[in-house]
């Protein structure tokens, strides 16, 4: 303590600014050390990523995307593989329909109406289809790939294969329900 005090006296400079004085303590060593480390790091980092083996951001992204695309293709295959019969087998499954209804309310209701009567998007309760032939399989594909030009999103990118399937089954359950305020028929009639 007293050593400290003596030391301080020595380190006190003759500076005086409106009564403020200054010591001339040395730079804390750990502080200087961190500063040096960050300075040394800079050229190493620059060398590694710009002149050495480091990947650029685009290269890194491309590598990651290759893996992801492979997986996405796999999922799409899975959806495509589902047959009309697979889907038909589900149309009386209460749980599938309930899950489908929840998904419908969250994702589809805004455009197709609370009862599938059609709003921004077409009526889903009649036998007229704008895209596809109204089969379960074709409905599944429209949901999955979307109709980008008309504003139908590509739900295959957002929903899992199971969710796509359940939504499809629920949409089928709307067929022929004749809701109020139904939108006029669009597309071609398919019996």
């Amino acid at each position: 303590m007293s050593d400290d005090k003596k030391n301080d006296e020595v380190l006190l400079l003759d500076h005086d600014y409106d009564g403020i004085k200054e010591y001339d303590n040395p730079l804390p060593r750990w502080w200087l050390f961190t500063f040096y480390i960050t300075i040394v790091f800079a050229p190493i980092y620059v060398y590694y990523y710009h002149f050495g083996p480091g990947l650029s951001l685009s290269e890194e992204l491309d590598q990651n995307l290759v893996k992801i695309e492979a997986q996405e293709n796999l999922t799409q295959e899975q959806t495509k593989k589902l047959s009309e019969a697979d889907l038909l087998a589900l149309i009386n499954d209460k749980q599938v329909i309930n899950e489908g209804r929840a998904l419908y309310n969250k994702n589809c209701l805004a455009c197709h109406g609370a009862f599938g009567e059609g709003l921004i998007g077409p009526n889903l309760t009649d036998n007229y289809w704008v895209h596809g032939d109204g089969s379960l399989k074709s409905v599944l594909l429209v949901i999955s790939t979307g109709v980008i030009d008309k504003g139908m999103p590509e739900w295959g990118k957002i929903l899992s294969p199971k969710d796509l399937q359940n939504t499809t089954v629920f949409v089928r359950s709307l067929l022929g329900t004749n809701p109020k305020n139904a939108k006029t028929h669009e597309g071609t009639l398919i019996e």
Binding site: L12, L13, H15, Y17, D18, G19, I20, K21, E22, Y23, D24, N25, P26, L27, P28, W31, L32, T34, F35, T38, I39, F41, A42, Y45, V46, Y49, H50, S56, L57, S58, E60, L61, N64, L65, K67, I68, Q71, E72, L74, T75, K106, N107, A110, C111, L119, I120, G121, I148, D149, K150, G151, P153, K157, I158, L159, S160
Partner: protein, 712 residues
């Protein structure tokens, strides 16, 4: 020769009172917009009260009104004493004061009315930018004039920091604001796309550096030793960390743009220089805290010292977190989230706010020649403030990291776990509620200050003579005690010192900005995009006016999860005609860079009028007035011609027929809305409405590739 002189303390009083008034406005606005994020109803369906317009007002008020006024008060008070000279000119001081308040007042009117450049922290339109520049020059003359007439040979470290502030803010403001006017309150910047992004964040980051850091360090170097009566810990440390800060800070701007379309070399520079900033920043904190050696008991007894110590601690925390967030992989998680909001508020509420409060509690009794009304109340303010900041910080930190993790969460198959964006928003709404409450607490703490200061000033003697001082004139400013090559010598040469500061900040600026000024060298011919149609441009200006950029980004980063969620990464070419760029810095809502054609027009119509009619959990405000207000189509000719002058390749015919082309496109959209969207209106009526122009713009985003099958 020693003549008796007085200090100009009237101006200090004026700036102090302005600080307190504007601080209240800035904090209140903060609390209001925090509640708007927690409860969308708090937007009240009123255009000039929506989040998008109030948020810029909040940030501008906090930075330029609150921080600005306390900085001027502190600089004017301490500079006079440190230089033993009355301010250079009383007239300039007054012009400075009233000019600045006028600017703030005009900002408070124009921003809610939607007159905005769409560049963060630089939203004010060109006439106001000119006013700021003029007032700043007045300030500079007054400041450097005072240095010229000083009666102390050497400049103290606080003055070094003030010099850096005065010079650099002028450069930042002027360079970033260069624009061509379209009308009295609308302009387009001379920079486009990556240029605008780079210049804007060079400005934005260094506004933090030279408006919120260097002047406050200067204040710290004066008011802290004054309050504790101890010498500064290390003169040497102050030299090193001053020059390191001034030289390094200016390079760090691109850390706001990691993984974006900004060229890689700039991103790398931004990151490595940010890391190098860590130690120089801590130099200031260390020098401040160690100055308290031998006086730590004051921390217990003096509320003022409490405020300073807490402020320095927050400064240390923030300047550690800053470099951390500049590391690319950390930025990948934190960028666009509330983590950044947490970070800046630790800085503004903790560092700037608490420094300001400490200075106010110290200065008001001093220059009003009385005693602080209540130390106890000041201590209560301190603890209330700390409590508010901590809850604020923790809640936003948790919100940011939670949402960041949800955005990047993928399942075993590499698919996004939360592909539905709004799910990630709903999750953090409770934290928004906590944050709003935290802001309210901080505001209440501030009200204790208001009352305390009111009582203090009331108790002041009515006779307020200015403080008298006398100091001998320095006879030979150049010659005395010449020590070759020493910094000390240099501290006596104000002009050379200033020039060296100028060079230090110019080096990084020039190296980073110059290459990007030739945008063409970064654009590849095959990836060029089409220009916006006149109607889309009108819609874009509505997007800017409503401040959609405060909640929406338009920049899909080079990250797999960004690409999975929003589509291919954004390119340099896609924003090459964007004046201003609208990449955004926060994703409260989803990225919109590729929103075009994702939904039908009618979806957007419903969504803009009431987002909850299509997305139940949305917290986006309603924009019903967009369906009432008319787009000014006539001004489009002028707008296109300004754009053309700036180098956007519009043809003569497009410019001459801008309004007709816009009307035609608007009519098509209106017809579609009525036929397939069930919108109840006549085509005539709907065609002219703002909402139609905005929809045209949204549908064009990401759809401007000239050759869509190509690489885009």
């Amino acid at each position: 020769m020693e003549t008796k002189q007085t200090y100009n303390d009237k101006i200090v009083k004026a700036f102090l009172l302005a600080t307190i008034g504007w601080a209240f406005v800035a904090l209140l606005l903060g609390v209001i917009i925090a509640y708007q994020m927690a409860y969308w109803q708090a937007n009240f369906d009123l255009e000039w009260l929506t989040f998008g317009r109030l948020r810029p007002l909040h940030t501008n008020a906090a930075i330029f009104a609150f921080a600005g006024n306390i900085v001027f008060a502190g600089i004017y008070h301490s500079t006079q004493r440190l230089l033993k000279a009355r301010l250079f000119s009383d007239v300039l001081s007054k012009v400075h004061f009233w000019g600045w308040q006028l600017m703030i007042l005009l900002a408070a009117v124009t921003l809610p009315l939607g007159f905005s450049t769409g560049k963060e922290y630089a939203e004010l339109e060109w006439p106001l930018d000119i006013l700021i520049a003029v007032v700043w020059v007045v300030f500079a003359i007054n400041f450097f004039g005072t240095i010229a007439i000083r009666r102390v040979k050497h400049l103290y470290v606080a003055i070094w920091f003030y010099i850096a502030t005065v010079l650099t803010v002028a450069i930042l403001h002027i360079v970033n604001s260069i624009a061509l006017p379209v009308s009295l309150l609308k302009s387009y910047p001379v920079y486009a796309g990556i240029q605008d992004a780079l210049v804007q964040w060079w400005y934005g980051h260094n506004a933090v550096a030279f408006f919120l850091t260097t002047p406050f360090l200067g204040l710290m170097y004066y008011y802290l030793p004054k309050s504790v009566g101890r010498p500064i810990y290390s003169y040497r440390l102050s030299i090193i960390h001053f020059w390191a800060l001034v030289f390094i800070y200016i390079w760090a701007g691109p850390h706001h743009l990691l993984y974006t379309a900004l060229p890689n070399w700039l991103q790398t520079l931004g990151m490595v220089f940010s890391l190098m900033l860590w130690a120089p920043s801590w130099g200031g904190m260390i020098n401040g805290l160690l100055t308290l050696r031998g006086a730590w008991d004051k921390l217990r007894t003096s509320p003022i010292v409490k405020f300073y110590v807490a402020a320095l601690t927050f400064y240390g925390m923030t300047t550690f977190e800053g470099p951390l967030l500049s590391i690319k992989s950390v930025s990948a998680l934190g960028h666009y989230t509330d983590w950044i909001v947490a970070h800046v508020h630790a800085g503004t509420l903790g560092w700037n706010g608490f420094m300001a409060f400490g200075v106010i509690y110290y200065l008001v009794p001093k220059i009003w020649k009385t005693k602080l009304y209540s130390d106890k109340l000041a201590t209560l303010h301190f603890w209330t403030g700390i409590f508010g900041i901590l809850i604020y910080y923790i809640s936003m930190w948790a919100a940011g990291i939670t949402q960041g993790l949800m955005w990047r969460a993928v399942d075993g198959n590499g698919q996004l776990v939360y592909p539905d964006f709004v799910e990630t928003v709903t999750k953090i709404v409770p934290l928004y509620q906590v944050r709003a409450f935290a802001g309210l607490i901080y505001l209440i703490g501030f009200l204790f200050l208001v009352y305390n200061i009111y009582k203090t000033i009331k108790s002041a003697p009515s006779d307020q003579p200015e403080e008298v001082f006398s100091a001998p004139v320095i006879k030979n400013k150049k010659g005395i005690e010449f020590i070759p090559k020493s910094h000390r010598h240099f501290e006596g040469l104000a002009t050379s010192f200033t020039i060296l500061v100028l060079i230090s900040v110019l080096v990084g600026s020039i190296i980073e900005i110059m290459p990007v000024l030739s945008l063409d060298s970064y654009v590849s011919e095959g990836k060029k995009v089409k220009t916006f149609t006149p109607l889309e441009l009108a819609g874009r200006d509505i997007y800017i006016k409503e401040g959609c950029y405060v909640c929406h980004s338009q920049m899909i980063r080079k990250l797999a999860t960004d690409v999975q969620r929003f589509g291919p990464a954004s390119t340099i070419e896609e924003s090459m005609y964007n004046r201003p760029f609208q990449w955004g810095s926060k994703r409260t809502g989803p990225d919109l860079a590729r929103i075009g054609k994702k939904y039908p027009d009618a979806w957007h119509y419903k969504h803009m009028i009431n987002p909850r009619s299509v997305v139940q959990q949305s917290l986006m405000p309603n924009y019903p007035w967009l369906a009432d207000k008319k787009t000014d189509l006539y001004i489009l000719r002028k707008k296109l011609s300004v754009m053309k002058n700036l180098g956007v390749p519009y043809t003569k015919e497009e410019v001459a027929n801008a309004d007709i082309l816009a009307e035609k496109q608007a009519r098509q959209i209106a017809e579609r809305l009525i036929i397939s969207g069930g919108v109840n209106a006549s085509v005539e009526d709907l065609t002219r409405k703002e909402i139609v122009a905005l929809i045209a713009y949204l549908q064009a985003l990401g759809q401007k590739a000239i050759n869509p099958e190509g690489e885009l």
